[in-house]
């Protein structure tokens, strides 16, 4: 099938692109402003394919400065978007460890002791210290608290009602169509296959969609973006070593939780010093809350879900959350290399936008606004090329899109932020100081730190728990867990002093119940497995298997002969397995032995 522009992924970047583009494809009299090549006489045929089963599934709640979004919608009325609220107040809190199980350095333990001693003189409450002021680079003043799911559904309705753009959910894209170094479109996923991808009942091979321009906005672990990176490589000096998993709940706050819509909390220090937390309050007594677990958190059995529960139960948050009810749950990978993770932004027949294009600002912790802005910049460039009749060559796209991006605030602020998190490679305290220095000096002073692929950072379990759990005890737990098919991370956390979670069936629920009650995860039949262990022999030799503990949906479990097993029906498409893997690919040391391909299904909640 031939179209003019084919787009991959409907996230905020594509929202910005299609919003801007769709407004200018028709003249006021309804005739085409530019004529389609694929369908002469019509406006350009613009098709966007989204992997998830509906628009807005599987994306995350945010607080955003919304500069780019407001520029696209100057008359934006947040009350028209479900769960949207203007930012009213922001708080940043350092959480102390109320139970003594957190793995804190001597520096932090000393700081904690000092805080507790001097708490009468500090803004101390509920085992936490409120920062007396929010650093300017972290502020989202005049911004919005959004449910990205609801926002993207709203954007989808706006762009499709223009009649010039089609957004098709539930249509994963398998691969780019490459002719030499030119991208000429995409191939959709095969349907009617068995788990291995072999044709089965109702087989329908993935259709080729040929287009003059392929717009890739499929996020940090998107299959098309990664295949382009494999083909073209990254620009010299760039890397994608830094990642995080964001896991969140959307909840109904209990009666009596007196929080104004638009209230924003950011926390650090607990449950582990490397884990950051957030809570955003939406209208209607709804809140989004969760944690970020970064790739430089060197726990080889890290699991986000249990940490999330301990974080919620910290007294600073529990005073608001006790009695709350889970509405929705989800997880997502964040590309934390930011500007330094930038791939080639344009080539013959293709362009990259959004988080997968390195637009996230790792200093301000802002990604949605930047992604949206890259989409609008591309739309302006595409319109310029369409109207002047120029082809979508690398040179023309560099001039029309990349140049716009390079001269924008996205690039300027991204450059400032570029080295903001380097200090975290050396530890949390160094990282926090480094971020502060970068932020307060506008990027002129940064602390150094050498970024490494996640697999090179990970210590052994014995090393990580050195001084806390004896190696013999770890060996015993390994055997017991293997016998029971139970999680090693859970057993180790128990042993390290983390208390059992007192399930209440409402907010504190088992991981599997979170999948079913919150994520409503589904996997339609007739598609191949999308998580592949490329080198089984490497997996068999692996004694870490962090992919199992780090899997957000418990979709990866111990498998036969040492190779992990994958259950597509539990996968939430967070992509954590891709970068948490502790072994490099034998063919590409920048990649792991886990492949994360195009697949159907996943979360069925639009409130995330």
């Amino acid at each position: 099938m031939n179209v003019d522009i084919v787009c991959v992924g409907f996230g905020p970047a594509m929202g910005g692109f299609l919003t801007t583009l769709s407004k200018q494809l028709l003249k006021e009299d309804g005739t085409p402003a530019v004529e389609s090549v694929a369908a002469p006489g019509m406006p350009p045929q613009v098709i966007c394919y989204e992997r998830a089963d509906d628009l807005g599934f599987g994306v995350s709640g945010v607080v955003t400065p919304a500069r780019g979004i407001k520029a696209s919608f100057p008359q934006l009325d947040p009350t028209q978007i479900p769960m949207a609220a203007p930012v009213k107040q922001e708080r940043v809190a350092y959480l102390l460890d109320p139970i003594g199980a957190s793995r804190r350095s001597l520096t932090l333990r000393s700081a904690d002791a000092l805080i507790r001693t001097c708490r009468w003189a500090l803004p101390y409450e509920y085992q936490a210290v409120n920062l007396p002021w929010v650093p300017p680079f972290l502020r989202k003043h005049d911004g919005l608290v959004l449910s990205m799911g609801q926002f993207m559904q709203w954007v989808g309705a706006q762009v499709m009602s223009s009649g010039t753009v089609q957004v098709w959910p539930s249509t994963p894209v398998a691969s780019p169509l490459l002719e030499g170094d030119r991208v000429v479109g995409v191939r959709l996923i095969d349907q009617g296959t068995d788990k291995q991808g072999a044709p089965a009942d109702g087989f329908m091979p993935g259709m080729d969609i040929r287009a003059a321009l392929t717009v890739v906005g499929d996020g940090p672990v998107g299959t098309i973006g990664r295949q382009l990176d494999e083909h073209f490589g990254l620009p010299e000096g760039n890397h994608q070593h830094d990642w995080a998993i964001g896991m969140k709940f959307v909840i109904d706050l209990p009666p009596g939780a007196d929080l104004e819509p638009g209230t924003v909390f950011h926390t650090f220090g607990y449950p582990e010093p490397e884990i950051f937390g957030f809570m955003y309050v939406h209208p209607g007594r709804i809140a989004s809350l969760g944690i970020f677990v970064p790739s430089w958190f060197d726990n080889p059995v890290r699991t986000a879900y249990r940490y999330l529960q301990h974080w919620m139960m910290h007294p600073y948050l529990w005073r608001y959350l006790e009695g709350a009810t889970l509405r929705s749950w989800g997880a997502k990978t964040l590309q934390e290399s930011g500007r330094r993770g930038e791939p080639h932004l344009a080539g013959n027949g293709y362009v990259r936008i959004g988080e997968g294009s390195g637009s996230t600002n790792v200093l301000t912790g802002s990604g949605v606004d930047e992604a949206w802005a890259t989409g609008t910049q591309l739309a302006e460039g595409v319109l310029e090329l369409l109207k002047s009749g120029r082809a979508f060559t690398k040179e023309n796209l560099e001039q029309a899109y990349v140049r716009r991006r390079r001269t924008s605030w996205v690039e300027h602020e991204g450059r400032v932020a570029e080295r903001a998190r380097d200090g975290f490679q050396r530890g949390v305290v160094t990282g926090l100081i480094g971020m502060g220095l970068t932020g307060l000096t506008g990027g002129r002073i940064n602390l150094r730190g050498r970024s490494m692929p996640p697999y090179r950072r990970l210590p052994t379990v014995e090393r990580y728990y050195e001084g806390r759990i004896p190696p013999a005890e770890i060996a015993k737990l390994r055997v017991e867990c293997a016998k029971k098919g139970a999680s090693l991370s859970g057993a180790l956390m128990d042993q390290a002093g983390w208390p059992a979670i007192p399930f209440d069936g409402k907010l504190l629920v088992s991981h599997q119940d979170a999948l079913l009650m919150g994520g409503k995860v589904q996997a339609p039949a007739g598609y191949a497995d999308h998580v592949i262990f490329l080198h089984p022999a490497v997996c068999q030799q692996c004694d870490v298997r962090i992919c199992i503990d780090a899997c957000s949906g418990q979709a990866i479990t111990p498998g036969p002969e040492g190779v992990p097993a994958f259950d597509r029906e539990k996968c939430v498409y967070c992509g954590a397995c891709l970068w948490n893997c502790s072994k490099p690919s034998p063919t590409n040391p920048e990649r792991s032995v886990v492949d994360f391909r195009a697949g159907a299904g996943g979360l069925h909640s639009a409130e995330n």
Binding site: A157, M160, S161, G163, T171, G202, M517
Partner: protein
């Protein structure tokens, strides 16, 4: 020579089946909490009807399928982006409630009116399809009233199979008690069939079908007529969700018989 049928399918949106529903009382009557925020799908029973209609049309060249939907326009637009990739049809959209708290006679009247307004409708070739009830909250009366308003007296509900014959007659298998089917023969059209599950799998997504359908879907949504449902004379005595209890257990290497036994014991505890 195969008969070119005219097949009108009635069907609208319902919340995605896995969503947590919470009835609330509003000044306008009962409603579901945050209904517009819930993901929606084409009612599964109506979906089966649509796929059966498309299959019948495919086997009878010259046939045409219409999908008549009453629902909030924004939700219809969203759901159509998934449904329109499945099978070819022409959408007739009516902008109205799909909450399940609307008087079925009023919805039936709106649907019947929209069907009567289809140009060139030929009763001798007309099948009216729909779900025999809404999968989530229907009264199971709407399709019957649509048929009555259209003057269609041959009606079949809970249909799992339709076999058409070259002379224009057909046979329908309707669900009856005890897991059995009632076999009915009908000599001529028009007829109304309220479908149960039918026998067809959900068709794969076909981008070309999607592109074709979009030529009518977006214009239909743009000109969707508003449908007001006054619910005059209707009083809701109470609204509640079916009682449900959930328990999750992860087991490995348990035989199907053992799993079945556990489920039976679990149900017996109620």
């Amino acid at each position: 020579m195969p008969i070119p049928y005219q097949i009108v399918v009635c069907g609208s949106v319902v919340p995605d089946p896995l969503q947590t529903l919470e009835p609330i009382t509003t000044p306008a009557g009962p409603a579901l909490k945050n209904e517009l925020m819930l993901p929606a799908v084409l009612d599964p029973w109506a979906g089966h009807a649509l796929f059966e209609a498309a299959n019948l049309a495919k086997q009878h060249p010259g046939s045409k399928v219409w999908l008549v939907s009453v629902g909030p326009k924004a939700k219809l637009q969203q759901v159509m982006m998934t449904v329109a990739q499945k099978v070819p049809f022409e959408l007739i959209a009516l902008d109205g409630p799909a909450s399940g708290f609307a008087e079925s006679a009023e919805i039936a009247a709106a649907l019947a009116g929209a069907i009567q307004a289809i140009p060139g409708l030929d009763q001798s070739r007309l099948f009216v399809f729909g779900g025999w009830e809404s999968a989530s909250r229907g009264a199971g009366t709407t399709m019957q009233m649509v048929g009555e308003l259209l003057g269609i007296t041959d009606q079949f509900q809970g249909v799992d199979q339709l076999t058409v014959r070259p002379d224009g007659s057909f046979q329908a298998l309707e669900r009856v008690e005890g897991g059995k089917h009632q076999v009915s023969a009908c000599s001529a059209l028009p007829a109304l069939l309220g479908w149960a599950t039918g026998n067809l799998p959900e068709p794969p997504n076909n981008p070309q079908v999607g592109m074709l359908n979009m030529r009518t879907v977006m214009p239909a949504l743009q000109r969707a007529k508003p449908v007001k449902v006054a619910n005059d004379g209707v009083a809701f005595a109470s609204v509640s969700l079916p009682k449900q209890r959930r328990a999750t257990k992860i087991v490995k290497d348990l035989s199907p018989d053992a799993i079945a036994q556990e489920i039976v014991e679990w149900i017996g505890k109620e």
